[in-house]
Every structure is written in C-alpha cells, then in structure tokens.
Amino acid sequence: MSTPTGTGPHSRTPPGWPGDDPTVPDQLGDLGRTRPGRSRPAGRHPRVREERPQPKPVGPEATQEPSPRPARAPDPDTAEGTAPAGRVLVVMVAALVLAMLVNADALVARTERRDPGPARDRELAVWHPIQDVSHALQLHRVRQFADWVAGNDDDDRPPVPEPAPETASLPGRRELPRPGGDLPDTPPTTEGPAALRTPTTARPLRLWVGGDSMSEAFGRELATQAKATGVIDPTVHTEMASGLTRPDYFDWPAALAADLESADPEVVVAVFGVNDAQGIVLPDGTPVPEVSDPRWTVEYQRRVGAVMDQLRADDRLVLWVTQPPMRDPEFNARIAVVNQAIAAEAATRPWIVLVDPTPVVGATTPDVRRSDGIHLTEDGGALLATDVLGRLGERVNLTGGAVN
C-alpha cells in the first residue's frame, strides 16, 4: 500500500493519521491477507490539488483498462487457494448438511426454547426430519461426544440474554403496563408478618438483601441507607444472571441456606424473577421451554413457594420485591407471568410481604432504569431502597439509634 498522505509537502494530514504510517506494512490484513483499499492520495482533495486529474470512471468503462487496484493483483498464496465455483458450492453444501446432521439435537433444542409462533413451528418442521435422519445415522453421537469432551452436560451453558429490541423509542416518561397487573403489596392473610423487636445501636437489626441483578444497585443503596439508621446491620448478596429457574447455573436454595445460617437475618429482602422467564426443567427431567406453558407456572410456583418456606422464621420479616415493568413489551409479558406466580405463592404465605416497585421505578426512563430498559440505575436503586426502608420503618421502630 502506498503511503501518500502526511508525508508530502502539501499534505494536510498529520503524521499519524490513518494511511500514512510507514510502520504499517503493505499487507495489512493479518487475519485474512485482505489488502486494504487503495489510499486516497492527499492531492485528490480539491483544495490541495494543483492540477485536477480527470474524474475516474467507475462504471463499465472502468474495466476497459487494467485495474490498478492492488487487491486484484495476483497473489501467489491465494492463487493456489482457488477452486471452481461448482466445487466450492458442493463443498459448502456438504459441510452445511453434515454440520446440521451432527448438531441436529442442539438445533432442535435451541429452537424449542424460542417463544411459540409460526416461525418456531416452521423451523421445527425443518429440524425434526433432520434430527430423525441424524439419529438414524447415529451422527448425533458425534455432537454428544463433543459435548462430553467440552464438559457441556446436555446444554447447561447459560443462555445468551435475549437482546433488547433495537428500538430508538423515546425514553419518555410513559407508564408501561404492569407485569402481572396491580399486585397487592401485602396479600390478604389471616396472620400478619412477623413482629420484630426494636433494634438498638448495640443490637442492630440483621438485614439480608439479595437476589438477581435487580438487587444489585438496589441492594447496595439499601445497605447504605440501612447503615445510616445506625440500628441495622445489612448483608448484601447479589448474583448476576441468577434466578430460580436455572439451579444448574446458580443454586439459590443452597446459597440461601448458607446465608441464613451465617447471617441469621431478621429481615430478608428478596429480589428474584428478572432472569426467570426462560425454560425450566421439571423434576422428572422434562424440559418446558415456554413460560406460557401451564406446566412452567406450576413448576416455577413450586420453586418460589419452596424458597418462601425456606425463608420463614418466627422472628423474621420477609419482603419480596417483584419485578417492575420492562421496556420490551414481549419481555414485559413474560415477566408478568413470573410476577403472577410469585403473587400466587405469596398469597398463601402470611409471612411474606410483597413489594411492587412499579410506583417508584416503573418508568423505564434513564433516571431510574439503565439503557437496557431492565436494570435499575443507582438513582433508581436509591429510590426503591428509600421506599423499602420506609415500609420497614412502618413495622419496626428504627429510631433507636438513628443518627441525627
């Protein structure tokens, strides 16, 4: 590649601007030996050009003379790597068909995890016969062996989070529909939540806050504000990308058992659900990929209920924060199913106090929610923490050691 800019007396390009560094060798494409495009001579800019060359034809007539582009010059390396188009096509088709047969199980499993709809049905209609052929030829065992070597047990890799739709919708202060509708803050029960002692500076209230990524900014802020009361000793446990549907990724019941043992909290603020709107595996090993499947709700409620039961103690108050509305309507709809399941389980457990964060951080605006339209910002976390601490203050006298 020539290095025409930046070195000539008329150049307006500073030394170092792309295209003029002699340290960059001619063959730039280290990854693929692709040559860069021809650099534009500094003189091509009208203001620095003393004599105007004729405009270059770039249409059909441009091919009437030998192309000056270095990219088309014969390359001894690639000359050996050429092949007739027909042969290339056969190789590519054969490779693709073979790869599809070997990976048919994974393709089917991945497609089955998608939301129901015509597109999913069409894809499955293609993959299932391929899967049948794969099994008939025993080619699926190649993939099984590869997964075994790689340590992939079935498909226990954490799924890539679904991308938020690339909408440039106005980050206005629109109120989104609440997932799950208007959830009661406190379910109707015959018994009330646990009554707590009045904490003092000497004997602060032991508070545990944690859960999935929605507890990250919120938990940190709640701990800060709780400490400021002087009568609360907080513990925060956030696990990113965790939840109750994928114990293979992070086992919350086991982690909670350890946390409850070590911290023995009198107040638990649990935040679960944002990562739970995904496929679940029933106790008998049956995968249920769709949140809309009634079996999914039954199993998820079972797990939520088990965690709620695990958190129960005579002298413990449990606040369970549900999920606020999400910007992506489709995701919001799935989160609604999660919230409904949590509310249904809480309704039968009087020791659970549900906290709907929608009035505080329901808008997916940049002041309270991050750019993904899901997570809380620091300010959003602080607002929710203030709200939750206020609810706690309604049930516990927190003035004993308040810092004035």
């Binding site: 008329h10 150049s11 307006r12 390009t13 500073p14 030394p15 170092g16 601007w17 792309p18 340290t23 063959q27 494409g29 280290d30 990854l31 693929g32 030996r33 692709t34 860069p36 495009g37 534009r40 800019h45 009208p46 270059k56 034809p57 770039v58 249409g59 441009a62 091919t63 192309s67 790597g81 050429t82 092949a83 007739p84 188009a85 027909g86 290339v88 190789v91 590519m92 054969a94 490779a95 693709l96 073979l98 990976n103 994974a106 393709l107 991945r110 790689a150 890799r157 799924p159 890539v160 690339e166 909408t167 440039a168 919708s169 106005l170 206005g172 990524s213 940190r220 990113m240 910002t377």
Partner: protein, 478 residues
C-alpha cells in the same frame, strides 16, 4: 439476518449459486444481487428496505445533479450547494432514526426544568440496523462526485454499492471506486478464492461465537453489570477482556463479511491490522476500524483543514474529528468522552513527538522503548474502552475509580481460562503475522470431501464451544 445462523448459511448458498450462474449477464446479475441484499436487509423489518432504497435514490439523484452542475469538471457554487444538500439530507435521516430520542428527551427535560411539561410526541421508531454504514457509503459517493474525483454511476450501481449484503450492516466502508468497478468485472468462475474466503468465515465465526461470547458472558457482562460489587482487579481484568471481546466481535464480523464477498468474487477493504500491537494511539487508529478512519480523514478531517494551517488548528481538527467519531456511536456523554480521550491521546503524542525532536533524551534500548510504548498505548486504549462499554459516563468513572483505589480484592470472576483467552488473543496480535497461511495452504490441498468434513467439524466445534444462542454483533447497533 445475523451471519452466525443457519438461515444466513442457506441464504448465502443461494446467493453464491445465483452469483456465479448469472455473472455473465451483468444486468440480471446486478438485479439479483440487489434483490438478495434487500431480502437480507428486510429480514428483520421490511420497512428498512424502503429507507435504504429511498436513501440510494436521493443520493443518486443529487450526485447526478451535482455532476451536471460541473460542466468543466470543477466544483461550482451550484454543485457545492447540491452536495451540501445531499450531506445534510443524509445526516437528517441519520439523526431522525438514531438520535431523535435523545433530542426529544433532552428538550423535554429542558422544558421540564422550566416548569413546562408539554405532551411531546412519542415515536416508536425502529432503528434500521447499519443505517450509519450505508449513510457513510452514500456521503462518500456524493462528495466524491462533487469533488470531481469520480464520475456519477447509474442508480442500479448506487443501490448495489450501498446495499451489497456482506458490508451492508457493519462495513467495511468501501469507496465507490474500489467496489463498483468490481461489479462490472467478470471474475473467472473457475478461480473462486475459496480457501481464503472459507478460512476468513471460519475464523470470523470462531472469534465472534466463541471468543467474544465467552469473554462477554463469563467476565465482561457480570463485572460491568454490577461494578459496585466487584473488586478493582476484577474490573481491570474485565476491561482487558472487553478490549479483546470488542476486537473479536467486530473483526470477527469483518472477517465473515470479507470472506463472503470473496466467495462472490468481490474483494472488500481490510478493516483491522492487529490493532493491539500498536505502539502509539495514532498507530492504533491505523490498525483499528481502518475504513472508518479513512472515511473520517477524507470527509471530516481534511474538509476541516487537515494539518495545513498550523499546529493549533491541526490539534483542533484532530480533536473535533475524533470527538465526532465518538459521538457517532451514540448520543451519550460516554461516547463523547471516548472520542475526546482518543483526541487527547493523539494530540498528546503529537506534542510529545515535537518536544522529543528538540530535546536531548537519554538513549533507551529499542526493545525496552518498544515494550514501554506498547504497554502505555494498550492501557490508554483500554481506559477509553471503559467509557465505551460502561452503561454511563458516571459508571465508567466509578469503574476507573475502583480499579485505581481497590486493585486488590476477590476475583471470583477471573478464571485461568479467561486470562488464557485474553493473553492468547493478545499474543496472536503481537506474534508473527499471517499465522493462518500454512493452514490455508494445507486446507486447499485437501480433497473436496475432506474439505467438507473439516468445515463441518469446524462448525460443530464452534457450536459446542459457543454459548446457547447468538448474541448480536456489537457494531450492529451503530
């Protein structure tokens, strides 16, 4: 349509077949390639196609009008007016789709601070992916015609130039005079650059699906998603990981794009040249997203005056160009800071170079000097990446603060494998160049059946090692 999907593989096989069957019949071939490209682009939302075709028509018409206003071949007042109109129209389209939310929200907030709460229109505008890239192509074409550097081309050529599916959504940014002549050539169908093209595609898939996805899910996203709970060591490791991730992601995409184009007989310009082996930030920009650097030089930096008006104006032009390069990624303070940081780096290097030429410096052994320059450059680039990746400028400052003040601490996220991937990726850039040449030579010597077996094995390996699902390319959003 995403590259690393079966849908794209099937689509590409159809395009490949049509390409080589129809190549002798130029008009039919061009119409078919346009149809394939528009189908590729309309896969997500068919409305995108209308935006693209409308943009092509507008730029074709204005370039033609500008050329007709230049009877002697030199720019005239009328041709300049038309070129400015075309550039403004392109920027307005880009602004409407890409920045309208920012503008409306900012205006709403500003009015709100004055006690006014107007009912601002709420527009759910879907951002056409790759709109920045086809806008770059359009501006490049119109300005080149307006400068008298190239002659105008027909609408079909303009449409194919802007929509050519391998480079449509994220580049490389080609010039008209390096791409359109290739449309009119008739490459020999018996000499398809198969080995190079397939190797590039395979390498690109591995970089994207395995390397970038692994680092993103295992280290970068958990650390940057909750920086407050991470130690400085974890955040530093995540930042280095992000440097590798974004390179593997974007260069991986570029490799696939270039490889696909090669199989169709078209050679796109290179976009990366081992950027992390750079020993200065200026050299980094020679090696990172080279076609954007070239575009910025030709259509922003040089029109601003380049380096022809003294040191102060040169520095200003560098700062303005790189600040705009940062803002191009999005209307956010963090991107502006990213650009200004790089501008500051380059200006600092230019100042230091000028000072070093005058001063008498103690001799430092060349290997030591090179190592120090590499170390400083790489870390300066990584500091800028923190702003690029963080959710906001405030979060970026928080992350840098934690790295600086709490470097020690737990590092549960940082595994030996993650460190090996980071180190290996950097070592590949610092090591001998073109390590794949021997692999390509070996592959090309295989029988077709064995080649198919190797390719199928490679696809299976990528599928096994990759995550469950295909995350979008980072640069699709820009």
């Amino acid at each position: 349509m995403l590259f690393p999907t079966v849908a794209f593989a099937v689509f590409f096989l159809a395009a490949f077949t049509a390409n080589w069957l129809l190549r002798p019949h130029f008009l039919v071939w061009r119409a078919t390639m346009v149809a394939f490209s528009l189908y590729f682009y309309g896969w997500v939302d068919v409305r995108f196609v209308f935006v693209l075709v409308g943009s092509a028509a507008l730029n074709w018409a204005l370039a033609l009008a500008a050329h007709r206003a230049m009877p002697l071949g030199d720019p005239t007042a009328e041709s300049r007016r038309l070129v400015r109109l075309a550039v403004a129209a392109n920027l307005v389209v880009l602004g409407v789709f890409k920045y309208h939310g920012f503008f409306v929200a900012s205006a709403t907030d500003a009015l709100g601070s004055l006690g006014l709460h107007p009912n601002t229109p709420v527009l759910d505008i879907l951002l056409p992916i790759g709109i920045s890239f086809f806008t770059f192509h359009a501006i490049s074409y119109v300005v080149d015609v307006g400068r008298g550097d190239i002659e105008p081309i027909g609408f079909g050529d303009v449409l194919l130039y802007m929509s050519f599916f391998p480079h449509l959504v994220a580049g490389p940014i080609s010039r008209v005079d390096e791409l359109v002549p290739q449309f009119h050539e008739r490459p020999d169908p018996r000499k398809v650059a198969a080995t190079e093209g397939l190797t590039l595609i395979g390498l690109g898939l591995f970089m994207k699906v395995v390397v970038a996805s692994y680092l993103a899910t295992q280290l970068v996203d958990p650390a940057y998603g909750a920086p407050g709970g991470r130690s400085g060591a974890e955040l530093a490791a995540a930042t280095y990981a992000y440097a590798v991730q974004i390179y593997a992601d974007f260069a991986g995409y570029t490799n696939i794009a270039i490889g696909c184009a090669l199989l169709l007989g078209i050679r796109l310009p290179a976009n990366f040249a081992s950027p992390y082996r750079a020993r200065s930030v200026r050299e980094f920009w020679h090696r990172w997203h080279m076609t954007l650097s070239r575009w910025l030089r030709d259509y922003v930096y040089l029109p601003l005056g380049g380096d022809g008006h003294g040191t102060a104006l040169t520095y200003r032009n560098v700062m303005v160009t790189l600040a705009l390069a940062g803002l191009w990624h999005g209307a956010d303070w963090k991107f502006l800071i990213f650009g200004v940081l790089h501008g500051t780096y380059v200006v600092g290097e230019l100042t230091a170079s000028a000072w070093a030429e005058r001063a008498t410096l103690p001799a430092v052994p060349q290997p030591v000097s090179n190592a120090l320059r590499w170390l400083v450059t790489f870390n300066l680039v990584c500091v800028a990446w923190v702003f690029f990746r963080a959710d906001s400028a405030a979060t970026a400052f928080e992350i840098l603060g934690r790295i600086a003040t709490s470097a020690a601490g737990s590092s549960t996220l940082v595994t030996g494998l993650a460190l090996a991937v980071i180190g290996g990726a950097l070592a590949l850039q610092l090591g001998p160049r073109r390590p794949g040449a021997a692999v390509q030579a070996r592959f090309s010597s295989l029988d077709p059946a064995l080649q198919a077996l190797v390719l199928a094995g490679g696809l299976t390996l990528i599928s096994v090692l990759g995550p469950d699902g295909v995350p979008p390319f980072i640069y699709f959003q820009f």
